[in-house]
Symmetry: C2
Subunit: 252 residues, 2 copies
């Protein structure tokens, strides 16, 4: 998908005039990302954020989570774990949002925002470590808090306030580490915005509409970081995709 992006446009035009069929194939390829998901799902939004940071288009294919479409055979053939999103790029079918973000960031490493830190093995190791910290230290608590306070009410279920309390206590300790780190570095992995920051966005955005917001607000460095990453244009676009997915009627 990235190959044509690095070729000068004049050269491409000349080649396309000689091989018109290849032009059509390339055009199809350029529109080739199909994203099966739901714009309200945290994991789908993680992928949308990367697509917009890279200035890439995609074809949205809505999976109706309320109707349980992600547990039906047609979707299970794409991802047997029954979870959105799935990215289709030609014959490649990828699940797991953080694998999809890394794939897009590598394929398009020279395009748009530089989301990786490819200078050396050491800088990539620090970035990978902070991606793992998001996945194993931050996400378990943040996801439970999002589930209890945002998703359960949507499905008419009751928030378990004891679970919220326990997970907030754990998240506080994680954010204390972040507060110290963000005193040493503008972003988590280094002084520029990377995938390590981006992976946090979906849960943080939802939690800013819940009482858990105070955990981010109470820590000055974390508060500034949250403000900076949630203000990014690409992230705002990722949160504003209802029309692309459901059309103007907004039928969800």
């Amino acid at each position: 998908m990235s190959n044509t992006n690095s070729l000068p446009m004049d050269c491409l035009k000349m080649v396309f005039n000689l091989f018109p069929n290849w032009k059509r194939a390339t055009e199809v390829k350029k529109l080739g990302y199909k994203l099966h998901g739901n714009p309200f799902s945290t994991n789908t939004r993680r992928v949308l954020a990367v697509l917009f940071e890279k200035g890439l288009s995609y074809e949205p294919i809505t999976v109706d989570l309320k109707a349980g479409e992600h547990k039906k055979d047609s979707f299970l053939s794409l991802n047997p774990f029954g979870q959105v999103p799935v990215l289709e790029d030609g014959n490649l079918k990828l699940s797991e949002s953080r694998a999809i973000t890394q794939y897009i960031a590598y394929v398009h490493s020279s395009r748009g925002t530089q989301l990786l830190n490819l200078q050396s093995h050491e800088t990539m190791a620090i970035l990978t470590m902070w991606m793992e910290i998001e996945a194993h230290q931050f996400d378990p608590f943040a996801s439970k808090l999002t589930w209890e306070q945002v998703i359960k009410p949507i499905f008419g279920l009751e928030t378990d306030h004891m679970v919220v309390k326990e997970n907030e206590a754990c998240l506080e300790k994680v954010l204390d580490v972040y507060e110290k780190r963000l005193g040493e570095s503008r972003f988590l992995a280094c002084n520029t915005f990377t995938l390590a920051d981006l992976h946090h966005l979906p849960n943080i955005q939802f939690l800013l509409d819940t009482p858990t917001k105070r955990l981010f607000e109470n820590r000055p460095k974390v508060r500034n970081w949250v403000h900076e990453i949630t203000s990014r244009e690409a992230w705002k676009m990722a949160c504003d995709q209802e029309e692309s997915w459901f059309g103007k009627s907004g039928n969800k």
Copy 2:
């Protein structure tokens, strides 16, 4: 640490004769990996497996988990999340076992077992997806089962059989997906052993000594895969490191 590995030996010898101090520095560097951890910890063993697959030496620094050394200031300065292992490579200090394994596999990509699948973005994407599946689909249940049935008894705590039952039911569903996948591919990511398989080893090894073993045994493809990956020489060495860590007295 990898640089000297790719230089022809004759060339190195000549350089070392001219600069004997550099030879000493290089030898020290070759022994430069310090691994803070505990050979009974699943996450430490994950890193040990990679070191042995790559034929690398390391300096073991025991963190006494029973004495809570991982929650004391000296260790928290290495990893503020208070978890083993931590790899020190010169000034680089890395936590999160899966970030450490990826770092070592990249730095030493041309040495020992090929643990990555670097042929193309697509093959790496599939590998990354299976690493993410281990982390987000397999590990949450497998880790809880290891905790309940292996670790809690070591600390004199009682196994909660209801938690075991719930997590076994979830793990069964995950292993059903693995059974299908391993009918299409010899290993999870491709037809060769990679980090995606290796990351599973520590929990599987502990669970083979518990009643959960039957979940692996009941599925022919999974059973063969488990047998093949747990039989690897490097893995056996990773599980047999007590003497390196505690000396001949075996004092843990």
